[in-house]
Amino acid sequence: MSDFIQDLRDLNTLVVHQRDRSGDDLLQQVNRIGCNCENAWPIPVTLQKKFDLVFIDVTDQPVDRIKSFLNSAGGEPPTVIALIGYENPSTLESIFEIGAHAMLTKPVRATGVLGSMLMARRYWAEQLRFRKDLAKMRDRVVNLQKINDAKFILMRHHGIDDQEAYGVIRKQAMSKRTTTLEIAQSIINADGILRNIGNS
C-alpha cells in the first residue's frame, strides 16, 4: 500500500472556506477521514508552516491574494486543493495559476474528497521530487562541463589524451582531499589568469 494512503491521518489540513453548507460538509468529511483539520475564513495573510494540505475556495477570490497566502509559509508550498463554484474557463485558469494539485466542485459531496486528497498528495510529492531531480541534473550538467573544460586545458598544455587528463584531475583531488569538481574549477581559474597575463 502506498505511503500516501498510509500517512493520510498524519496530515495537518486547513480548510480555507466560509462556514456554509459546503464548508461544513468538507470539514466533517475531512474529520471523518481522520485528519487534523482547521478552518479559516476569509483568506488569512499568512499560512502557518504546520499545514501539509490546504483546501481553498477560489470562487471570486483574487488570484494574487491566494498565491501570496499559499507562498507565505516559506519553504515548500503545501499541497493545494482548489474548491470551485463555477466550472468555467476563467475559474479553471485561476486553478492553474495558483498551482493547485487537485480540485473539488461545490457543492462539496463527501464522496471524492478522499480521492482528491490522495491524488493531490501524490501529484504534489511527484512535483517536489521532479524539481529536486531537475536541480540535481542541472548541477551535474554544469559540473560535467567544467570537468571537460579543465580536461581540455590540461590536454592542450601537456599534450596528453582525454583519459590521462582526467587521471591528473582525479589524482589531484585525491591528494588534496577535495572533489574533482573543485580541482577542475581551479584549473579553469588558473588558466584564465595565466591567459590574461599573456594578453596584457
Binding site: 500500500m1 494512503i5 498510509q6 493520510l8 491521518r9 460538509d25 466533517q28 468529511q29 474529520n31 471523518r32 477521514i33 481522520g34 459531496r109 463527501a110 464522496t111 478522499l114
Partner: protein, 386 residues
C-alpha cells in the same frame, strides 16, 4: 387507525437468488419490527406500511427498484441491500431524490453519504478483535479465502495489516467468482489441509460460503483444530452447512442468536411467533430489525417523512437492541456496535467465547487499524451451564 393514511416505506431485499438466504432474514427482521411498532399503536397513531420489491439478487435491479419506490410509490425512506454492489446502485438514486436509505449490513467502509444510515459493522468493529483472538488462540499463519468482489478484498487488506502488526503471516490468498460450487472449492480445500495453517480467514459469502465450509470438511479439514474464521458466516449458513462440517468454526459479529438478554429473548420470541422458527435469525437480521425501530422512534419525534428532518433526528439516536445498546454516530451515520466472537459447538450452535466490554465507535475511514489499540481487546465470556 384505518381512517388515517399509513406511513409508506420502501423495502428492497431479495427473496430469491444467490444472496436470498441472508436477505430473507433481513426482510423478516424488518417486517417483525414493523409488526411490533404497529401493534403498539403505530407512529403518532398511524401504522407503518412496507412496500416491498424482490430484486432477485440481480445488482442492477436494486437501483431500478429504488427509483420506482421513490418515484411511483412516493416513499422517502428505504430499507434494504446486502451486497456492497447493490448498495452502490441505490446510493446515487437516494442522493438524487433525497431519500433516506437504511443499510443493515456490515461492509468494507470508506463511504459516507448523508442519505444513508449504516447499521452494520465497519472493519474496525470486528476485524481487529477477530485478528487478536485468532493469533492468541490459534497461531500466526493464516490462509485467506474470499468471494471475488470489493468487500472481501478490502476486508482482507485490513486483516492482513492487522495480522502483520501482530507478527502474523498470510500464507495464501484466493478469490472465487460467484459461480463456484463445492466442487470448485475442492482444490483450495486440499491445499489448505496440506499447508496446515493455524486458521483460515474466510470472506466467502452467500451460498458459496456453505459450499466452501463443506468442501473444507470433505477434504479432511477440522474446525476444532484449524477453524475457518469469518465476519459474515451466520446462524442461517451454519444451519445449512450442518453441525458436522461446521463444528469449531468461528465468527465475529455484533450479534449472535444465543445472547442471553431480556431484549434478545423478547426479539426471538416474537420472531418465532411470526415466522415459526428462529433458524435464520442472524446479525444482519438483527441490524435490520433495530434500524426499523430507530427509524420509528425518529419518525415519532419528527412527525413527517421528510428525509432531512428524519436524518437529523436519527443522529445520536440509541436503541436497546437485542445485541445490547447501539447508537447512531452523529459524526458519520454509522452505528456504535457490540463486538463478539463465537465458535460453533457440536450441535451447530454458536457459543460466544469473547466479547468487548462496550460498543465500538464505527470508523469507516480507518486505513490502518492498530492491533494494540486497547479498545479492541476482547474479554473471555464465562460459560454458564445451560
Amino acid at each position: 387507525m384505518s381512517i388515517q393514511e399509513s406511513w409508506k416505506i420502501g423495502v428492497l431485499f431479495s427473496t430469491s437468488g444467490v444472496t436470498s438466504i441472508i436477505e430473507q432474514s433481513q426482510l423478516n427482521g424488518t417486517l417483525l419490527a414493523i409488526d411490533e411498532i404497529n401493534a403498539a399503536g403505530g407512529v403518532r397513531g398511524r401504522s407503518i406500511e412496507p412496500i416491498s420489491y424482490n430484486p432477485d439478487s440481480v445488482v442492477s435491479c436494486y437501483g431500478e427498484m429504488a427509483e420506482r419506490l421513490i418515484v411511483d410509490d412516493k416513499i422517502t425512506a428505504l430499507f434494504g441491500c446486502y451486497m456492497s454492489s447493490s448498495r452502490k446502485e441505490v446510493l446515487p438514486v437516494v442522493e438524487r431524490r433525497n431519500a433516506l436509505f437504511f443499510y443493515p449490513t456490515l461492509y468494507e467502509g470508506f463511504e459516507y453519504s448523508p442519505n444513508v444510515i449504516y447499521g452494520g459493522a465497519t472493519p474496525n468493529q470486528n476485524s481487529v478483535p477477530l485478528a487478536n483472538y485468532l493469533m492468541g488462540a490459534f497461531g500466526k499463519r493464516i490462509f485467506f479465502v474470499g468471494s471475488d468482489y470489493i468487500y472481501p478484498r478490502e476486508s482482507n487488506r485490513v486483516m492482513r495489516n492487522v495480522l502483520r502488526q501482530g507478527g502474523g503471516e498470510v500464507i495464501g490468498e484466493r478469490y472465487y467468482g460467484f459461480d463456484v460450487d463445492e466442487e470448485g472449492f475442492a482444490e483450495v480445500a486440499r491445499e489448505i489441509v496440506e499447508m496446515k495453517p493455524d486458521a483460515i480467514f474466510s470472506t466467502v459469502v452467500g451460498q458459496m460460503c456453505i459450499d466452501f465450509y463443506r468442501a473444507y470438511h470433505a477434504a479432511g479439514g477440522d474446525g476444532r483444530i484449524c477453524p475457518i474464521a469469518s465476519l459474515t458466516t451466520n446462524e442461517a449458513e451454519i444451519a445449512a452447512i450442518g453441525p458436522e462440517a461446521a463444528v469449531g468454526h468461528i465468527t465475529a459479529a455484533p450479534y449472535f442468536r444465543n445472547i442471553s438478554s431480556p431484549a434478545n429473548r423478547k426479539f426471538l420470541k416474537a420472531y418465532n411467533a411470526k415466522f415459526g422458527s428462529v433458524r435464520d435469525v442472524t446479525s444482519c437480521c438483527e441490524a435490520a430489525y433495530s434500524q426499523m425501530h430507530l427509524f420509528a422512534t425518529a419518525l415519532e419525534e419528527v412527525g413527517e417523512m421528510d428525509a432531512d428532518r428524519l436524518h437529523e433526528a436519527l443522529l445520536g439516536a440509541t436503541f436497546d437492541a437485542p445485541q445490547g445498546q447501539i447508537k447512531i454516530d452523529p459524526d458519520n451515520n454509522h452505528t456504535y456496535l457490540q463486538s463478539r466472537i463465537a465458535r460453533v459447538d457440536e450441535q451447530g450452535e454458536f457459543i460466544i467465547e469473547n466479547k468487548l466490554r462496550r460498543a465500538i465507535k464505527p470508523d469507516p475511514y480507518l486505513v490502518y487499524p492498530k492491533i494494540h489499540d486497547w479498545n479492541f481487546r476482547t474479554q473471555k465470556v464465562k460459560q454458564f451451564p445451560v
